[in-house]
Structures are given as C-alpha cells and as structure tokens.
Amino acid sequence: MSERHSLTLRNDRAEVARVMTWVDELAVTLALPPGTTHALQLCLDEAVTNIVSHAFEPNTAHDVQIALWRDDRVLYAEVTDDGRPFDPLSYEPPVAPRDLRSAKIGGLGIRLIRGFADQIIYQRSGPLNRLLLSFRVN
C-alpha cells in the first residue's frame, strides 16, 4: 500500500484545474499507466465539478478533500465534501438518446464516472459525502 496523498480544494469551479495538475504529478510518483491516469482524471473532474456546482448553498465557503493511494493492482481515490447528501449510485442518468433531436444535455458526468471507475462506493457519514472510486492498474 502506498502512502496516502491528499489535496484540499475550495468549492470553486476554477479549482478543478488544480486537481488535474496534482494528478499529473502524482501519476509519476505512483507509476500509473496512461489509461489509469486518464480514467482517474476524468472521474475526478466530473465528481469535483458536480460537487462544487451543486453540493453547496451559493456564496458559502467549503472544502473538498481528495485522497489518493494505491496497492499493487488497484488505485483508490476518495472524495469527501460536507455538502448536501448526494449518492451518485442512486442517481438515474437519462436513458441514452436515440437521435440528436431528443438528446438531453446533462447527466453525462455520472455516466462517465460509472463507465470509467471499476468500483464506486458511496457513504454518507454524519455531515460528509464520501465517494470512493477504484481503478485497476493495468
């Protein structure tokens, strides 16, 4: 098991870029293959964007925590926030549209997290949303 690396963000959409830089740097430290790094960045981008956009009352300051660690075969990412409860596993994304006319804009972020993370665990513990994503390291 590797050391646990963590990052604290403010609830500001501009902070998403910091997550990407942080992951780029850690990908070297944790020896992540490009496919795993891409899946991780995509899921963190979508999860953090959702949290800073929807979890909090407007004009309130909050922190969002991200922790990353790995073992031989699996990379783990945990995202924690103290916003309103949101379980991405219970959210039903819109059905895939058949044509452009009926295509809805939105709900794609959750679909991406489900498609790119190998396992998703959500837990509400007290005031906190805790989302644990895991990725096979190929």
């Binding site: 959409r13 794609l108 991406l112 498609g115």
Partner: protein, 112 residues
Amino acid sequence: MAVEPVVPGVVKVILDGRLDITGASVIDLQFSAIAGSHKGIVVDLANVSFLASIGIRTLLLGAKSVQRRGGTFVLLNPVAEVERVLEVTGVTDLMPIYRDSEAAVAAASAHT
C-alpha cells in the same frame, strides 16, 4: 481552435488541448456561432487529449443546432481515450466518427 473553410457552407473546426471546464469555456461562444451559421461541420478531434462532460455539452449543442437546420455534424479522428468517452456517453450513436478527412468532408457536405 482553428476554423478552415472547406466548401461553401462547410467548415472544418480543429480543436486542441483539453475540453474540460476551462477548455470548453474558451471555445463555447465561437463554436456555437460557427455551428449556428453552417450546414456542414467537421470537428477535428485529433489534437484533443481530454474530453469531459462539459466538452461533450459543447459538441452536442453544436450538433443539435446544425441538425435543426437540416445539416450534418461529424467528428474526425478522436484519440482512443476521447473515443471511449464518446462511446460511454452514447455520443457515437448521435454523430458519426470518421477516420478519413476526405470522407468526413464529403459526409458534412451532403446536405448543403
């Protein structure tokens, strides 16, 4: 973002870098203006390294706008990671992906 006129009414839009919240916000306005004023659009994705849902929103809004006017919106040469994002979100069922620039241009020119 670069825009190359191909034939009258048809353009190739060459995107690059990351289409995440930052990248999408840079191109949104211009992309939507181009989509609103052409009947054929080829979006060259070869130099796009990362596509998040916010970037898909940009593509979908553009494609819907072109389609409403009876035109054709196609994608060209996404890298493997970007193509997988398009598949997982169902976008590959909504807009065709081409590997060959001439074929993409021919498809986008079909209804002009």
